[in-house]
Subunit: 212 residues, 2 copies
DNA sequence: ATAATCTGAATGAATACTCATTCATTTTTT
DNA sequence: AAAAAATGAATGAGTATTCATTCAGATTAT
């Protein structure tokens, strides 16, 4: 019983702990009730804390939401980087690992998608959200374009540019998320994966053998 | 002055006219301020009418928003059907016309996209929105899957199923819309079209000649 | 060791404000 | 004159934010 550092009955916690706790509560509330119907009272209740707690730790609701988006985006980026790292030096393998990541049930469930779309839905009227998303997307785009360029060079493919291939692949995964959100019953991971593989195996045939 | 049915100074209008006017105002407000910050006062002001007007013609805000989504969806469907009709009997041509439609500046500008994403952002917490979107999507999916099946049969393509190709194409256009929303500066219709053509010309090479 | 003091995290009632909805009144049409 | 349409002030429910107060744990003094 020695090294239990944070006793569970502790009434006060460090600033960072509370902020994280509140952000987690916010994510849950947005997934359940949507962005518009999530009140600070909801967030506090979900976190098991008191009414005024959010304004104590974040100064405003606006702030809380922005930080929540940042946290969400960071989490995705960590997954992205981890996937990239684990996949070794082969660019074709890395590309496949990345698109497969986007369909992993653990990472992308309907809860998470609802949260992403909730933020995307406000992008036009909240420039800050747009900027944050753009910043991260720019990075993913550069990585994926780079991988496509390597594959194209390696296979001497003359039928596609790295930019077009990257745009096609990232757009496809984002679009597949929308299908999952709107038709959860019908939506099928296998069909989604088939769609992506139909691209890879036809555009880069010497790198992605069709198993059909 | 006899046959001027709708004089411009007319202060009262038919129910349908007013409803349409209010829905148009709602669309503008959502594009400008976002779903969450659009109030009934905003809508009334945008329409140049009085505070209580929305509740007079729609019974509630909820109702107004649902009807607005239906109108938006109908408008898109009309475009879809018109495009299909105009494109003649060739399935490959129809498919191309449909994906090109999705990138037409007239049809798809950032205003419209913002509205679509605003509704999609609420899909998870508002089952009605989901149902409406699903209903329309099911139709588009069936049409596009059918066209893909025809192209596949005609070209004897063994490398892809109609379902996978349809899913790939519709997902790609939806995903391209997200790019347009998030990176409006960078986003380029030509690159978007290249991405789609990289799919068509590689998966259905005997139907879509690469002009490169 | 014990008591006294301090600190800042947390509370939750009070405040100020927004906004959907209602409705008595006015205006327009028939 | 009666009916229909529209107005816009009033209502009240809901909610972000504030703040005086409480309290657990750390620090200091005895």
């Amino acid at each position: 019983m020695a090294t239990v550092a944070s006793a569970k009955s502790r009434r006060t916690a460090s600033r960072e702990t509370r902020r994280r706790q509140l952000i987690d509560a916010t994510l849950k509330c947005i997934a359940r009730k949507g962005m518009g119907n999530t009140t600070l009272g909801d967030v506090a209740r979900e976190a098991g804390l008191s009414q005024g707690i959010v304004n104590l730790h974040f100064e405003s609701k606006d702030n809380l939401l922005t930080e929540t988006l940042r946290t969400l985006a960071n989490e995705y980026r960590e997954q992205f980087d981890k996937t990239l790292e684990k996949s070794g030096p082969d660019p074709a393998g890395a590309l496949l690992a990345l698109v497969q990541m986007d369909l992993k049930p653990k990472l992308i469930d309907r809860q998470k998608l609802a949260i992403w779309f909730a933020f995307w839905g406000e992008v036009k009227s909240r420039p800050t959200y747009r900027k944050i998303c753009d910043e991260y997307d720019r990075y993913y785009d550069s990585v994926i374009t780079g991988l496509c360029a390597e594959v194209i060079a390696d296979g001497a493919y003359a039928n596609v540019t790295p930019e077009a291939a990257a745009e096609a692949l990232t757009s496809m995964t984002n679009g597949l998320w929308l299908s999952c959100l709107i038709s959860p019953r019908e939506w099928d991971r296998q069909v989604a994966m088939d769609a992506i593989m139909s691209y890879l195996s036809n555009v880069f045939p010497r790198h992605y053998e069709t198993t059909r």
